[in-house]
């Protein structure tokens, strides 16, 4: 197996999702995140001017790279990630995660995959990023699978 094979077809199949308020609460609780924009709608709207509760940036990042991890071939793993948030995402807005292979380094058995999350209806990107994926030394060798 080569590094170019880490993602079948070089594309991350689209993964759709809509964040519910319970999900925002659970993530804030699991990460001990007291920021009010994620659970206090009157604060989010009245003080910070958001349309609704704000989806945590790290939660979007986790989902982007989780979608990628789920699509990787056996023996491939994320070794670094990079991401930035481009626009607010609110609870209840349907989003889709997509990605594609953009670079391969045969010497290090690694590949770079760009990923993005965007609002399904408008195409507005909310979070974009990339990951470096490495193939384990034994991945794809005879008898390993």
């Amino acid at each position: 197996m080569e590094a170019s094979d880490v993602l079948q077809g070089g594309e991350l199949p689209p993964v759709a999702h809509t964040y519910r308020t319970q999900e925002l609460f659970l993530f804030s609780a699991a990460t001990w995140n007291p920021h009010r924009v994620h659970y206090d709608e009157s604060y989010a709207a009245g003080v910070e001017g958001h349309d609704s509760l704000l989806v945590q940036g790290p939660l979007q990042a986790v989902h982007m790279f989780q979608a990628l991890s789920d699509a990787l071939v056996e023996g491939a793993r994320l070794t670094s990630v990079r991401y930035r948030h481009l626009a607010p995402l609110h609870a209840g807005q349907p989003v889709v995660v997509t990605g594609r292979l953009t670079d391969v380094d045969p010497d290090t058995r690694s590949a770079t995959v760009e990923v993005r999350m965007e609002v399904s209806e408008t195409g507005q990107q909310t979070t974009t990023g990339s990951a470096v994926v490495h193939l384990d030394d034994r991945a794809g060798t005879e008898g390993e699978r």
Binding site: E23, L26, F27, A29, A30, T31, W32, N33, P34, H35, R36, V37, Y43, V47, E48, G57, P58, L59, A61, V62, H63, F65, Q66, S69, R77, L78, T79, S80, V81, R82, Y83, R84, H85
Partner: protein, 160 residues
Amino acid sequence: MTDEALTVWAEQSALVRTVVVGCQDIARFAIAVGATDAVHVDPAVARARGFADVVAPALFYVALRTGVFNLVPQDALHEEGTPLRDIPPITFRQAMAGETSAELFRPFVAGDVVTCARRVESTARKEGRSGTLTFITFEYRYADADDDPFAVEHFTRIFR
């Protein structure tokens, strides 16, 4: 507020905390992010895959970043929720997440003793369309007792 005051604040922002990652921490995070692999919640499955105990999802470090460093008394939180000590000495209307990068060396496993070290890497102020933007970049390093890292994160917050 002067740049000097910002520099002094940055220099005083370093923190180190050591925690034990628990199976409940991992299970709560996995459930919160919808990670359904049994390796996150079932020790038998984890052991069958060669781990000592349940394994956290890849980006579990985000739970340590806030879960460790946000543990302050409630009266030490800003109105918007950020610990007061994490807010630079500036006037701002909104705090936003900027760019993040992280190197992922190995997964967190229940029972791991993790030393979490935070410092301010850099500060910068820029004029934007909506006024002055202040960029604070933190480095978070998560390592074991031998300083062998699990993950190293660089996280920027933007205040405007």
